[in-house]
């Protein structure tokens, strides 16, 4: 409850991983000037090395409770959990990038700088404990992603995606910022700790506060692409270069959910009866729209975009009970989603390295006979996204459902179960299409070594965590025990 007034609480150790990532971005920026154009793969190597250093710096944060910079960021287990997750995603993205970028003639150093910038923003968002740092994190990651979405400078779809994302994202940021202003007005503080303290008193019934929370929720729901704030998702996912979609579909969602957890679970538990209903409604909306519209999609990137909306709904369900158990399930789900959805998009990336028209489902006909490896790992990811054991996706759903049963939240649970059954249709459809007899020979491109290694590792992780979920569950459980 005490705000560190002696100095500003400057503690660079608490944000060391973020600093390393930003530092790596600066190094890459300068290296880009001296590395010859045909050696830009080196930049990916430097990026990975920097990220590995940041990963190493994240582990000491585990188990700490280290508020810094005037209570605006915190180095705790939750931050460490997300640091590891986000850095891992970024490393894998960097590993599959060079081949894809070269194939599309997009091999520029700025790509890695923007990737690192977005990662730093996401990590900051996961560690943020003040409205200002939350905003800072969101903006940092968003601006980088706007540019990355439009990175295919000559492709019209990519430009359209970037513009759409920028305009709608700016609009959502407006909501977010206005909400923050109202919350500040109601509670007199921007740090979550002070806001939490204020809401336990008379301010709890303050209309300003409630409207503020509502607007803040809109901004965050936009970032996790929860319905009805999801309109941008299919277009941006489809138009952006696939490797960028791969990254942002999992990383952005993860980081934004870290903030949602800190805000709803840790800051506003005392008024959970107020936010429960709107949040439940958003979750149910996401489940309905994501799963039902995904059925009609013939483009695999759009299908995965709607599936991502649906999964945002499942993840939100874990927030609803407002319990540590529920938040544990949420964290596990985020990690599981990161693994399986990254895998699914990475397969699209590997196929797309030959050209960008390959996301159409008709191209995937008979993939089992043409490219058995890619088809097999894709099958694993589809089964996992559908939640069929023994894959990690099953336990993700199981833990969320269990937290709802324990909290006796029935209506959203019933919707989630029914929608899960619906989701089988479109996930299994991909498998059926891949199993169908191919129409004829289609020009092939080989999968590079690093891409196939990444795909293999992610597929193994999907199954391994589906057999032994306990380790990650324990981590999630430890990270979920937030307290202010």
């Amino acid at each position: 409850m005490t705000i560190n007034l002696s100095g500003l609480g400057i503690d660079y150790g608490a944000i060391l991983p973020e600093l390393i990532v930003v530092g790596t971005a600066i190094v890459v920026l300068f290296l880009d000037l001296v590395v010859p154009a045909d050696r830009r793969g080196w930049l990916a190597g430097v990026t990975v090395v920097g990220l590995l250093a940041a990963l190493a710096a994240s582990f000491p944060l585990w188990g700490q409770d280290r508020a810094a910079f005037g209570d605006t960021v915190i180095a705790d287990s939750l931050a460490a959990f997300f640091n590891v997750l986000l850095i891992a995603i970024t490393i894998l993205t960097a590993l599959i990038s060079p081949r894809f970028l070269r194939a599309l003639d997009l091999d520029y150093g700025e790509y890695y700088i923007l990737l690192l910038g977005a990662t730093a923003g996401m990590m900051l968002l996961a560690a943020a404990t003040s409205l200002m740092t939350i905003f800072l994190g969101i903006e940092l990651l968003s601006v980088c992603l706007y540019v990355l979405s439009g990175f295919a400078r000559t492709a019209l779809r990519s430009q359209e995606a970037a513009l759409k994302y920028l305009l709608l994202g700016g609009f959502a940021t407006g909501f977010l910022l206005y909400g923050m202003a109202l919350i500040y007005g109601a509670t007199g503080s921007t740090t979550l700790r002070a806001i939490a303290a204020a809401t336990t008193t008379a301010a709890a019934s303050n209309v300003l506060l409630l409207v503020g929370i509502a607007l803040l929720s809109v901004g965050l729901a936009f970032k996790v692409s929860a319905a009805p704030f999801h309109m941008w998702t299919p277009d941006v996912y489809e138009g952006a270069p696939t490797v960028v979609t791969t990254f942002m579909s999992v990383a952005t969602k993860a980081a934004a959910f870290a903030a949602i957890g800190r805000i709803f679970i840790a800051t506003f538990p005392s008024i959970s009866s107020r936010w429960y209903f709107p949040l439940a409604l958003i979750a149910i909306f996401s489940l309905f729209i994501g799963n039902l519209v995904a059925i009609t999609q013939d483009n695999i990137k759009r299908m995965l975009a709607y599936s991502g909306i649906a999964h945002a709904g499942y993840i939100l369900l874990g927030i609803l009970p407002g319990t540590t158990q529920g938040f544990t399930a949420t964290l596990f789900y985020i990690a599981a989603y990161a693994v399986m959805n990254f895998g699914a998009f990475a397969v699209v990336t590997a196929i797309g390295a030959g050209g960008e028209q390959t996301a159409d489902l008709s191209y995937w006909r008979g993939l089992f006979y043409r490219r058995p490896f890619l088809a097999t790992v894709m099958t694993i990811f589809m089964l996992s996204l559908a939640g069929i054991p023994p894959t990690v996706g099953f336990f993700a759903k199981l833990f969320v459902f269990q937290s709802l049963v324990t909290a006796q939240i029935w209506a959203p649970l019933v919707v989630a179960v029914i929608m899960t059954i619906v989701s089988f249709y479109y996930y299994l459809r991909v498998i059926v299409v891949m199993l169908a007899q191919p129409d004829g020979a289609v020009a092939e491109n080989r999968v590079g070594f690093s891409t196939s290694t990444v795909l293999g590792a992610v597929a193994v992780a999907t199954v391994f965590l589906g057999l032994f979920p306990s380790v990650v569950l324990d981590w999630a459980s430890h990270a979920a025990s937030l307290h202010f």
């Binding site: 199981l398 459902f401 049963v405 059954i421 032994f468």
Partner: protein, 509 residues
Amino acid sequence: MSWYTLPTNVPWLSLVLVVPLVGALLVVLTPSVAGRVIKQLGILTAVITLALVLAIIGGFQQGVGGLHLQFEEVLRWIPSLGISYHLGIDGLSLFLLGLNALLFLIAIIVTDSATPRLKEFILLLLILEAATAGILLALDLILFYVFWEAMLVPLYFLIGVWGEGRRIYAAFKFLIYTVIGSFAMLIAILAVAGINFSQTGQLSFDWTVLVQHPAAGVWHLPGSLGSVGIPQLLFVGFALAFAIKMPIWPLHTWLPPAYTASPVPVVIVFAGLVSKLGAYGFIRFNLSLFPDAAHSLGGPLAVLATIGILYGAVMALAQTDLKRLVAYASMSHLGFIGLGIFAGNLLGIEGALVQMINHGVIIAALFLVVGMIERRAGTRLRGELRGLGATAPLFAALFLVVSLAALGLPGLNGFVGEFLIMLGAWSSFLPLAVGAGIGVVLAAWYVLRFYQGSTQDAPPHPASFPELRILDVGVLAPLLALMVVIGISPGFFPAAVDATVKALPVILR
């Protein structure tokens, strides 16, 4: 049984799961051009598994252990949620495990070496064998659910890729039905554990723990809609999954297309084994976890089972396609098993367990016969077949034994189970026993018409139906032997089953 004692430091049951998976791995590593090697690998794996299972059956000691469970293995899996890797075997699962190993061996042997993508076919069969064995062995509800769902994926592919006719439609319909039931069961599983947690303070998904504290309580519906007993609600959750799998009328509509579309090796394990897993689930979970609800809901379910007997029999009479005929016959026979279970007395449940084995043996043999007819005659339409016995007397003889077993002739195995079930039903629900009796009469009708119509009468000219080969006799032989052995010494099975059923907290009528 218990002819010898197996060493206790070997995880026998895990081996039953691991051996097919190791075989599957070896199949993966074999290049797909080596079709013969792949099939031989599959047969070898299935033989080893069968040998293991036979060793376990031989070493099974009757009436030992708390719930008469043996070869138990408990490993920590997800300790924070009370989920464990708990395997065990008792009188309920012992012989079904044997049936599982036998039918998969037969299925792999009868797989045509010319099957396209043989490698994936054998691979999926081996994975399916591990999953179905896991269903029989799992004693943790979540572990059970994992196997239950894992079974779905290989089956879906086996029908959807290698099936015939409207295979994708059939596979999809089967999948959707099953998944709906599965999720109802999943929610019930979570609720059972949650209720047990609130009653005892111990979070556990272990069947041996849950079975000691049957769920109780009443759920008051919102408004003034009355109230529902929570055990009844949970019972229905489990029952939905198992009733769809069996299937119990009116949840059977996925069955005819799925059985008809399945290739012969798949339909042998599908009809012979997978349908029994639903019946097994009823006894293992519904009867023992919710004894009160099983008592109060047993009556309506027994009525549905009897309707299934008659409906299946009448539909079997109406079929011209032999595969569909056997599919409906299978459904009719499963109605008997359901009736035995829901009769809720010792005779009925014993009869159901015996009949599960019998049905597996008989239906597998019938589908094999249909497969042989189709491969030789090029058709399986009843009207186009006649006089097969003239050129293939051995075939006709073996077919006759199978037919007589299927219609329940005393001295063969079908009679034993049906008789026990009828006795059980007689003392619980007299009118239903009469209905089931009519089903037996109808069975004689459609089976004999099938047999006589196809084998007797003068053969068409030129008679071209070839006699059985050694291999065909070889795959039918163990099934025929079982029919005779069970038929002559029926006391063999109930002894092991009896002790287990008595140890369960089942309310007997």
